[in-house]
Amino acid sequence: MNLIAQLPVLPIIIPIVAAPITLLLPKGRVPHLWACLFSWLTFAACIALFAEVSSTGPISYHLGDWAPPIGIEYYIDLANALVLLLVSGIAAVVFPYAYRSVQLEVDERQTPLFYGALLICMTGLLGVTITGDAFNVFVFLEISSLSGYALIAMGARRDRRALTAAFNYLVMGTIGATFFVIGLGLLYQATGTLNMADLADRLIGQDNRMVEAGFAFILVGMGLKLAMFPMHLWLPNAYTYAPSAVTAFMAATATKVAVYVIIRFIFSVFNFDFAFIGAAFTYVLLPLGLAGMFVASFVALFQEDVKRMLAYSSVAQIGYMLLGLSFATVEGLTATLVHIFNHALMKGALFMAVGCVVLRAGSHSIYAFAGLSKRMPVTTWAFLISGLSLIGVPLTVGFISKWYLLQAAFEAGHWYAGFLIVASSLIALAYVGRVAEVMLLREPAEDGKYAMPKEEAPLSMLIPMWVLVAANIYFGVRTDLTGGIAQRAAETLMSMAGGAP
């Protein structure tokens, strides 16, 4: 077996083979270690794949040796290699983190299922990213979503609202996925192919209503999946009541992958010759991105629950990504890709910090954070640094995102958007500052519901969390990986779509 040649399929094969076996493992430590091991193997495969792609260019892998456009193709270029790296990297950090948190938050009998489902969820997300076949996107999307519903519902041990949240997510997610399939059906009817590259070829010149409708269905379907404002209503509850590890993982990856799908469809399947693409940029993505940035940030400001606050903040951050996209320039696309990566780092770290607090205080209400700096200083600082990153303070990844986004806005001539971007980060300043103030300047509760021992979270949680925090700083200073790669990826995507490079 030639490992390099088989590399593109390994990120899928490794976790998907490992996942069912977790079901057979005894409860307790073993499923966790097993899942950890395979998440790291997957990460290693993704790193190798990324190195391969960035040195030799796009890779196409033919499943079952059937050549595209007939066979299913895995197509990896820089854009999805970056997302693959991100998803598997976050997974590699979340899996070790999960153990103690899951012990507390998930029914013990369900732990093998939990790790199995988390592996499958990761597989699904990786699959969505890696595949070059449009229908395959749907299949993988549903794999990740179905396991996601189950994972969210497992939070029911702590709060029964997890069940209703999961149910609502299921309904919305299924509608979204079905819309996506309708869109694919229309495209298939118009072209007779489902391979993305082939679709792109055959769509050239087909500016008819069927293609338009297909695009609209795909956009709305993915919009539901990625919680594009105003289709975000499922997200806050789902993220709030899911087990902490699940929230950290999904917040960092699931919506990002959906954004990636939109990018892939807009730039690699459709192209700028379609009038409706331009219209979608101007009349859909731009206003919705801006509205999401503000409305969601503003709602986040008034949340008593830190997890829910961060969930709304995620909706706002998705607004940034869509905004970057809507400029339809290389800079804008670069900004979106960079922000996809960076936001995953900061939100992952933030939700992990909340998970640590939940472990000790048993609550993610803001009152549980009172005086946290005196009880869990290590966690507090992790939260603060990633919070600063969310605001966009220099030397953190958030700043890099803001910089790219602002630059894109000014260069695209949308200078007003530039000011709206910073205005929205000021709201982020307000809501992060609110938590920071409670953590730093309030006295901890001595008794009552939020009293907790002066005890740090266990190292098994702190180390993964600080790995992400360190990444927040590292990638805030070194942007070769994010900025450089994202720019190259954006240029490729842009030239595919026939836009100005």
């Binding site: 600063l388 910089w403 630059q407 000014f410 000021l426 300043l429 730093l440 300047l441 200073v477 070194r478």
Partner: protein
């Protein structure tokens, strides 16, 4: 002898080493901890002097740390203005540290370790601002400075401190992220660089910049919230909840100076004085600065709280620098630059005196100070000299910047500005000089506690009740500095000449 190239990175990292040392020593041995602070300060000052000497010799030592985004390195380069700022900040930091020791111990404050740690980070950030070779680097250290001083402002942790801290952080971050960052990115988007270049980078892209130059200048003028141009000044009075050494640090050593320093840098090295003059982009802000000068002085007159009065005085004085930059004449810039130095010494003196009064007698209202001069003659003597410098009376350093600013205003043909400067000086006299005069010559009010000896008609040496020597000596040193600077204004002028294009 350390080369100037090496001195720059050392100046940045040394305070961080001091930070770690302070952290490790902690409460175990306060003396050792303070020694660490002072040793760091002393070395830092000598490093700054090395750079200063090199710059005086015409060198432009530089250092590049890392390239963050293509074309956007974190890089440093010393030039006259920055070198001057570095020397002032690091020199006053030593004085401030000595004073802090006296104040904090005299007051029995808590969390002293955290206090000194934050100071160390803040001074490092101030060095970064001073030596920044481009706007990007400047912005980074500007934000670090804001964040590292936040724990200092909220030092007491009570409701008042929380509120003050909220305003402090809110205004500074809101202006820097909301206005300064877009301004920098905009500049970068237009010119493709953020480097500080003698003569400015805008002139080469004048076609693109000219229509928006006014807007851009506004973003800088208000975005650099630390310069406290009205109406973005509220953070400054609200930060007065902090212990006095912090106030001194904010007002004299680093924070506000970093603000006006940034404004000067932008005016001189980004816009370029000539370009600014041609486009007239600075004119509206010149008037705002003028208004700010008068308005803040007027408010200061009505403040009975000594620290609040000094705070508004700072708002007013800072606008001198902004005014100098916006005049867009060589003399204006020179006046602004010298004002940084002169005001640092003068205001430092005043704040430390205020703190000393508070430590010795727990008085914080101006009206309570009557007669106190007879008990604290050294403190009020220093206060008097500092106030003279701020007002701009010879033989104190503060007279030179006023002189140059008037020259600059005359050059620019803005006679009204000269009037503003004159009125401001008169107001300064009223609200600043009246304090020592009252303290020395007036009897204390009938009601309220009277320090023993305050009612005496003259100073009786046996009745003196001065603050501890560590609180008393620093203001006297800075007052003396302000006095000396008056006579050494020419070397400073020579040193700063490259700023205005001279050799």
């Amino acid at each position: 002898m350390i080369s100037a190239e090496l001195a720059i990175p050392l100046a940045l990292f040394l305070p961080l080493a001091g930070f770690i040392a302070i952290w490790l020593i902690g409460e175990k041995s306060p003396n050792l901890r303070e020694a660490a602070t002072l040793v760091t300060g002393a070395i830092l000052f000598s490093l700054a002097v090395i750079v200063f000497a090199a710059v005086a010799g015409g060198a432009r030592p530089d250092f590049e740390l890392i390239e963050v985004i293509d074309g956007l390195p974190i890089a440093f380069q010393a030039e006259p203005l920055g070198a001057m700022f570095a020397v002032i900040a690091s020199g006053l930091w030593i004085v401030n540290s000595v004073y802090s020791i006296g104040y904090m111990r005299g007051h029995g404050e808590e969390h002293q370790t955290r206090f000194y740690m934050c100071f160390a980070v803040a001074i490092s950030a101030a060095m970064g601002v001073a030596f920044a070779a481009n706007l990007f680097t400047l912005f980074i250290f500007y934000e670090v400075l804001t964040l590292s001083t936040f724990p200092l402002v909220t030092h007491y942790g009570d409701a008042k401190a929380r509120n003050g801290g909220r305003i402090y952080l809110g205004v500074l971050m809101a202006t820097s992220i909301g206005l300064l960052l877009p301004a920098i990115v905009w500049t970068y988007a237009i010119t493709g660089t953020t480097d500080f270049v003698a003569g400015g980078i805008m002139a080469a892209h004048s076609e693109a910049v000219a229509p928006i130059a006014g807007v851009l200048m506004g973003l800088y003028a208000f975005g650099i919230g630390k310069a406290a141009l009205m109406p973005v000044h509220p953070w400054l009075p609200n930060a007065m909840v902090a212990p006095t050494p912090v106030s001194a640090f904010l007002h004299a050593v680093a924070v506000v100076k970093a603000g006006v320093f940034s404004i000067l840098k932008v005016a001189v090295y980004i816009f370029g004085v000539d370009f600014l003059h041609e486009t007239g982009a600075g004119t509206p802000y010149m008037w705002i600065a003028g208004g700010s000068i008068l308005l803040a002085s007027a408010i200061a007159m009505n403040k009975d709280n000594l620290k609040a009065r000094l705070a508004y005085s700072t708002v007013s004085q800072l606008s001198y620098v902004t005014l100098g930059a916006m005049l867009a004449t060589q003399m204006g810039v020179m006046g602004g630059a010298m004002q940084i130095a002169a005001h640092a010494l003068g205001k430092m003196t005043l704040f430390m005196c205020a703190g000393a009064i508070y430590v010795a007698h727990h008085k914080s209202l101006v009206s309570e100070l009557r007669g106190l001069g007879r008990v604290m003659p050294f403190t009020f003597g220093a206060f008097f000299l500092g106030a003279m410098s701020i007002v701009g009376l010879p033989p104190m350093a503060g007279s030179w910047p006023k002189f140059f600013l008037m020259l600059g205003a005359a050059d620019a043909g803005q006679l009204a500005i000269i009037a503003v400067l004159m009125i401001s000086s008169i107001l300064n006299v009223i609200y600043l000089l009246s304090i020592p005069v009252q303290a020395f010559y007036m009897k204390p009010a009938e009601d309220g506690a009277k320090p023993q000896g305050a009612e005496n008609a003259s100073i009786q040496w046996g009745n003196l009740k001065e603050a501890p020597i560590l609180c008393l000596a620093p203001p006297m040193v800075t007052a003396a500095g302000a006095f000396l600077l008056f006579f050494f204004a020419d070397p400073l002028y020579e040193f700063l000449t490259p700023l205005i294009g001279g050799q």
